[in-house]
């Protein structure tokens, strides 16, 4: 078994019993961020595109969810669907304009779009402005069959959503499309010279990543019962970069580990107030300098070298 498999199996077992050992709300939040980080990593790790505005997809999906469920009184499934579709549509528009740019220009354009969306969300009537959308009711799922008031029940729903998203990303990476993405990441000019219109592949990857970030954002709104400006902010866009880098880019599981570390830190260091950010920054610097490939990346290397040595 590869190191990644071992880590995966252990984590899955842990995930199944976790709500008896930790607060379900905390776990669900962490799972949402983990999915968000995985969606982001699909772009950075497998296409080589650094988006500095991914919070716009995460956050806007929360608003879509809140509006559909709260204002329109519809089922949460439809809210999530609306969140995913809205994020994908936003991804298609911003992606079409950003994807032709390379490197830092691409990053800057995504950042600019995210800022526009942020100010739009402050002003727009359906987002609740500074207050956001509060008190989104937890309606039952599956047409009333599955009540979600109990946090532990909802936890398994969220775990299922997470696994669905994670599985989707795994499949994308290991698909005929994924092969072309890796080729483009490795050498775009060469991929073009083989007849691949690189921009179209990158755009599809961008839309898929946006949709999955939207799935994470809508699910988070369902769990916490609110949608806020924080989730569309530049700080959130930065946080997801942090999660992906801490865990490691070249692996699918890395961003999950990164997200849990960051969320745990924020949770348990909450008493330290603003100081959390300083500690977070320091840890980030240490990890980036000491473990270039992120925690999971380094662990995988260590495992491989140990096996080839023994």
């Amino acid at each position: 078994m590869t190191a990644q498999r071992v880590i995966g199996v252990v984590l899955l077992a842990a995930a199944l019993v976790a709500p008896w050992f930790a607060y379900p709300i905390f776990l669900m939040t962490a799972l949402c961020f983990a999915l968000f980080a995985c969606a982001f990593n699909l772009l950075l790790g497998y296409v080589g595109l650094m988006s500095f505005g991914h919070a716009m997809f995460f956050g806007i999906a929360g608003y879509f969810f809140g509006h559909v469920v709260k204002a329109w009184g519809m089922a949460p499934e439809l809210g999530i669907l609306a969140g995913v579709a809205g994020a994908a549509a936003l991804g298609a528009v911003t992606g079409a304009l950003a994807i032709r740019r390379q490197g830092i220009y691409f990053a800057m354009i995504t950042l600019a779009f995210a800022q526009m969306i942020y100010f739009f969300c402050i002003q727009a009537p359906f987002t609740g402005g500074e207050d956001g959308l509060q008190g989104i009711a937890r309606r039952p799922l599956l047409g009333g069959l599955l009540p979600t008031k109990d946090d532990r029940v909802l936890y398994y729903v969220v775990l299922a959503i997470f696994l669905f998203g994670y599985g989707t990303i795994y499949r994308i990476i290991h698909s005929p499309f994924g092969q072309v993405l890796k080729a483009i990441r490795d050498n775009e000019q060469r991929a073009v010279s083989l007849g691949y219109e690189a921009d179209r592949y990158k755009l599809l990857a961008f839309v898929l990543s946006a949709a999955l970030a939207g799935l994470a954002g809508a699910t988070k709104a369902m769990v916490l019962q609110f949608a806020t400006l924080t989730d569309v902010s530049a700080a959130m866009s930065g946080e997801v970069v942090l999660m992906a880098l801490v865990g490691g880019l070249g692996t699918i599981i890395g961003p999950v580990v990164g997200a849990f570390i960051i969320i745990t830190m924020q949770n348990y260091l909450a008493a330290a107030g603003e100081f959390v950010l300083v500690i977070q920054g320091a840890i980030f610097v240490v990890i980036v300098m000491a473990f270039r490939k992120g925690l999971v990346g380094e662990l995988t290397d260590w495992w491989k070298s140990r096996r080839s040595a023994g």
């Binding site: 499949r171 994308i172 290991h174 698909s175 005929p176 499309f177 994924g178 092969q179 072309v180 890796k182 080729a183 990441r185 490795d186 050498n187 000019q189 060469r190 991929a191 073009v192 010279s193 083989l194 007849g195 691949y196 219109e197 690189a198 179209r200 592949y201 599809l204 898929l208």
Partner: protein, 252 residues
Amino acid sequence: MAEQETILEANGLTKEFKGFVAVKNVDLRVRRHTIHALIGPNGAGKTTCFNLLTHFLSPTAGRIYFNGREITGSSPAAIARMGLVRSFQISAVFPHLSVRENVRVALQRKIGNSFHFWRSQKVLDRFDRRALELVEAVGLSAFAELPAVELPYGRKRALEIATTLALEPEMMLLDEPMAGLGQEDIKRIAALIRTVAKDRTVLMVEHNMSVVADLSDTITVLARGEVLAEGPYATVSKHPAVIEAYVGTGHG
């Protein structure tokens, strides 16, 4: 439809970089099923010509026809799909894909499932046999599962040719395929080019004159962006302007 004698034609090809003219009014005709060499001192504009012909750069002026069809405004990827495929002066492989996967990425294109993100890549397994045949044809069987990044330089160039061949292009543009190779590799790649050119057309930039003399049917000499001479090796090598251009820059 009768096949035309000329497969690739460029008329009045010109490229200016901010006032500097890298390629000046170049006319080029490549005959089908020949090996045509483009030679000239460093900075003559050979690579720029390749970039123009495959639209990796847009020409300032001039028109390009492939199989009688104008391709001047077509996208680089579309030109590749028509069967005009280029290589690069610096070796261009996909470093983190294995040797087999490098070739398979090229094979996969024609099937049209390359946007299928919901399917398992196992559907690509059926290309493995053909991929391994091509890998063997360029002498890389022993390295099939190695990431391309770990290949020595000469082997990377061989892998590039295998990847290009996977597309079964009607015409290949090779930019300095021998650059940086040792004697052994040069012999192997030259033999390979001769074999693949049997039923296709090759336009190649090359500095190694014995390779050029040996392989090419026609030679076009470029200097300072302009065509200096054209013809078979015997004629071109005796051309006074060519001798001067080469002696002048220390090439030979």
